[in-house]
């Protein structure tokens, strides 16, 4: 329980390139990696770029890779590392670097816009929505998401495959489709929108081969794969291979 000097290696640079830079920096009791980054800013590197906001694991701004693992810097305690250990902090690899630890995460905002929004049920006035707790809980789990984009960062479908980005929404936004699909009052289907099918056909659900990397890095401990993606896959498949659905589709298409 005291102060010591840690060895940090922080990626410095911008879109044109850069590299790891070494720092010796003080660490106090109870601190997290973000505290150390802030100390570097205040004492040695005033222009070190980093995103952060709430510093309490609630906003999902300070995502980076600490010793190669995608994490929130504000929720990574220094006590999990040995005092002699070199701590390497790099920007999220899946997104283009802007500067230092800041990346261009616009991919995620683009994907968010491609998921059709909640469709309110017709004829139900505001104040008249009735839903049971057990029915909202499934979607509520997914709405815990703080959009830190660590799942998007770690997902191997896009992590080293820029070419897949166009067709693949990533775990966060496939989970958003699942969330809306499980919303007790979402009326998308009545409007002719099949969310399961769109997950498959438009958001690249098929690329996911359920390795659960996303679940592992989720700071909110959301079971993205088990509770969102797999059920979505099952239902999408049910529909695709259900002979009645197949027949119905055929008939409807003809009329």
């Amino acid at each position: 329980m005291s102060t010591y000097t840690a060895h940090f290696r922080v990626w410095r640079g911008d879109a044109d390139g850069g590299g790891l830079r070494d720092y010796r920096v003080e660490v106090h009791d109870g601190e997290v990696v973000l505290d150390i980054i802030h100390r570097l800013q205040a004492t040695q590197a005033g222009d070190l770029a980093v995103r952060w906001n709430c510093k309490a694991g609630k906003c999902g701004s300070c995502s980076a890779e600490v010793n190669g693992r995608p994490r929130l810097m504000c929720m990574t305690r220094m006590s999990v590392f040995g005092r002699d250990e070199t701590i390497t902090v790099t920007p999220m690899r899946t997104f283009p670097v802007v500067r230092d630890l800041v990346t261009d995460v616009s991919f995620n905002y683009d994907k968010a816009r491609e998921v059709p929004s909640f469709v309110p049920p017709e004829g139900v006035a505001p104040g008249e929505y009735r839903m049971l707790q057990e029915d909202v809980e499934r979607s509520q789990e997914f709405r815990k998401c703080i959009e830190c984009f660590l799942c998007q960062d770690t997902c191997h479908v896009v992590r080293d495959h820029e070419e897949n980005k166009k067709a693949f929404a990533g775990p966060r936004f496939l989970m958003r489709v699942a969330e809306l699909d499980m919303h007790p009052l979402d009326a998308a289907e009545e409007q002719g929108l099949d969310r399961k099918r769109s997950a498959q056909d438009e958001h690249g659900l098929g690329y996911c081969n359920i390795t659960k990397c996303c679940t592992e890095v989720c700071p909110e401990h959301i079971k993205i794969t088990d509770n969102a993606l797999i059920p979505l896959k099952e239902r999408a498949v049910d529909r695709k291979y259900d002979p009645l659905v197949w027949l119905g589709d055929k008939i409807r298409r003809r009329t």
């Binding site: 106090h28 009791d29 609630k58 701004s61 929720m75 979402d186």
Partner: protein, 651 residues
């Protein structure tokens, strides 16, 4: 002439928290081309940290609730200093604002019969807070964010462009509100101060450092609070009082700046998380406060004005959770100012916890399973950050700077700022609604009610101008650019020792000054000392210098934010020095009593010389409008006697 990007919109909203997004949705739905500007990424605003819930008298849990009861609670919580018309509108409109969120996809926790569940909170007579576990703010932000996306999808279908009518400029900072030229056309004669109409905003893109101007006749300030001027705070880095300062610099006055809420329960250990919020829901759901002797000390701190409303014994307080109709609530649920002062006194008396707080215990009150379900993010936060399992042991907590009741002086119905046509303010940056102290849960409802009103009236204002839009004046753009660039050249060459000041150091000194000298308990001598130190900091801030270049440079951003923090800090200190009584979020050691003669007085802060951004602030007194008789009639006369003077009551 400075290199700047130019855009033009009908309405510009500065800030993308609850109030800003709600304002933007409204302005866009009124048909206005709307821009939202925010310092962080879209969806990261400080609103995500709100935990407890949204106060609205939907009466889903207790059928006796209605807007009148909510109004009464709000006025009591604010010690009757509230702008009563705002408190009335807020109480009347909050339920509709919550229900509307459901139509946009929000998923609140439910009652057994499927309605929105409501929880107890300090100062609210009935269970009133719509919530989602203890992450209500996140649900609010996400719902509004997704509503904005759905509007953009509409535009995409219609115009082939998501941003045709509603665009979010994320990671951008506004440094000036621009105003029309009032004649003369020179820096000396024009636009310098009061009266002129808004013509747009000037700002910079954080990522690139590039400057931009958005021409717009209506600007809604929704920038939140000022907590980053204090050392121990629950507020995020964005809370640098930007909107407060932008209003002052544009010539709009601030009111009630002496009232700063210290939330009673922030984390106290480890040091790096000191100040992070521990939600009031912990107490609302049964958590109790104890000192080092194991005593529930809050029973000793029930003030006279609240004596009849709170339990006198632990047994009664405990029974209230199950049978609220026949028992009074435990004193842990007093308004925040009372609880924060009580904790402060216990610690000072030597009955604190090992790290200088008191104990907040829920582990002996609820089962581990219930705690994990009702307070999941508190459980997570303590586990991850302090290595404390709140299902098994007590938390250590102490007061943390949480909220500023003071803000831009606005018209209660339209949210229009006083004295600057085209400027509007909503949410924490607006003053008046909460009086001297805000009740928990009334913030999120405030954001929605007045965010919508600000968006609506900004849209109407713009529509009313027709084609006659105020023009942006070039010298103002150049002056704003020069001001923003100053930290790169600093005034280093002109000062004797030639050393630029480190903005981080200045910020730390400012935070220490405000924390120590204008904090939860105030004294005349200390506040005078604070003003002396603020003077010195202002001089040094002129030479705050930074290295590197303009691309995503946090040192530079901080140097620019310092101007705002210093301005609002001075407002807080000057107003606090002026008000010689104790009320709500303003406690004077040297004037410990509440004084009825101060009840109807607002302190109004203005910039002495609007041309000098590092200049002095002047404080004036203004009488409030008398409370409307039908609203006064909601209270018993005996209660009113505690707050209003005899002459006011005789009227």
């Amino acid at each position: 002439m400075a290199q700047v990007e130019r855009h033009a919109y009908d309405v510009v909203v500065v800030g993308a928290g609850g109030a800003g997004l709600r304002a933007a949705i409204e302005a866009r739905e009124q048909g206005m081309r709307t821009a939202v500007i925010c310092k962080s990424l879209f969806g990261k605003a400080h609103t995500v940290m709100a935990e407890g819930g949204i106060a609205a008298s939907m009466a889903n849990v207790n059928p006796h609730d209605n807007w009148q009861v909510h109004f009464r609670d709000t006025m009591r919580g604010g010690k009757f200093l509230n702008q009563w018309r705002m408190a009335e509108l807020h109480a009347r409109e909050a339920p509709d604002r919550v229900w509307e969120l459901e139509t946009w996809g929000a998923l609140f926790d439910r009652t057994k019969d499927g309605r929105i569940s409501q929880r107890n909170f300090g100062g609210h007579e009935y269970p009133r807070l719509a919530h989602v576990g203890d992450r209500t703010g996140l649900e609010l932000i996400r719902t509004l964010q997704q509503k904005i996306v759905s509007l953009q999808q509409e535009d995409h279908r219609e115009h082939g462009d998501y941003e045709a009518r509603l665009k979010v400029f994320q990671e951008c900072t506004v440094t000036r509100v621009l105003k029309e030229d009032e004649g003369g056309g020179t820096e000396e004669s024009a636009g310098r101060g009061r009266g002129g109409k808004v013509s747009g905003v000037f700002g910079y893109v954080r990522e690139s450092g590039r400057f931009f101007v958005i021409e717009a006749p209506a600007v809604v300030l929704a920038t939140g609070g000022i907590g980053k001027s204090f050392k121990v705070t629950s507020n995020s880095w964005e809370y640098t009082g930007d909107g407060h300062a932008l209003a002052l610099l544009a010539g709009a006055p601030l009111i009630n700046m002496e009232f700063v809420q210290f939330h009673p329960t922030g984390m106290v250990w480890p040091p790096s998380v000191k100040g992070i919020l521990v939600t009031e829901s912990v107490r609302g759901d049964g958590g109790v406060l104890r000192n080092s002797e194991g005593k529930r000390f809050m029973f000793d701190y029930v003030p006279d004005v609240f004596k009849e409303k709170y339990a006198q014994s632990e047994d009664e307080g405990d029974r209230w959770y199950e049978d609220p109709d026949n028992n009074r609530r435990p004193p842990e649920l007093l308004p925040r100012d009372e609880v924060a002062r009580a904790i402060n006194s216990e610690v000072k008396a030597g009955r604190g916890s090992p790290h200088g707080g008191v104990f907040l215990d829920v582990s002996t009150r609820l089962s581990a399973e219930v705690i994990r379900r009702k307070l999941p993010s508190m459980h997570h936060q303590f586990k991850e950050l302090a290595d404390v399992d709140i299902t098994a042991e007590a938390m250590e907590v102490g007061p943390t700077c949480h909220y500023v009741m003071g803000g831009v002086d606005v018209d209660p119905d339209t949210a229009a700022a006083t004295g600057v046509p085209g400027l509007f303010a909503a949410g924490e940056v607006a003053g008046g609604m909460h009086g001297s102290n805000r009740l928990g849960g009334n913030s999120l409802s405030d954001l929605l009610v007045f965010g919508r009103r600000a968006g609506l009236h900004a849209a109407e204002y713009t529509a009313g101008l027709g084609g006659a839009r105020p023009a942006v004046v070039e010298w103002q753009v150049d002056a704003a650019a020069a001001e923003a660039l100053r930290p790169f050249s600093a005034e280093a060459e002109t000062v004797p020792d030639g050393v630029p000041e480190n903005p981080y150091t200045l910020h730390q000194e400012l935070q220490q000054t405000m924390n120590d000298l204008v904090g939860i308990i105030r004294r005349q001598g200390e506040m005078e000392e604070a003003l002396t130190r603020l003077d010195a900091l202002r001089v040094r801030a002129r030479r705050a210098g930074v290295e590197g270049h303009r691309q995503f440079n946090p040192g530079w951003h901080l140097a620019i934010d310092l101007r705002n923090m210093l301005l609002v800090s001075e407002c807080v200190a000057r107003a606090a020095l002026e008000r010689t009584e104790s009320r709500g979020g303003h406690t004077r050691d040297d004037h410990p009593a509440m004084d009825r003669r101060w009840r109807k007085l607002n302190l109004v802060c203005e910039l002495s010389d609007p041309a000098d951004a590092f200049g002095e602030v002047s404080v004036g007194r203004r009488e409030m409008d008398p409370i409307r008789p039908d609203l006064l009639a909601l209270f018993e006369k005996d209660e009113l006697l505690k707050y209003l003077t005899d002459e006011e009551l005789d009227r």
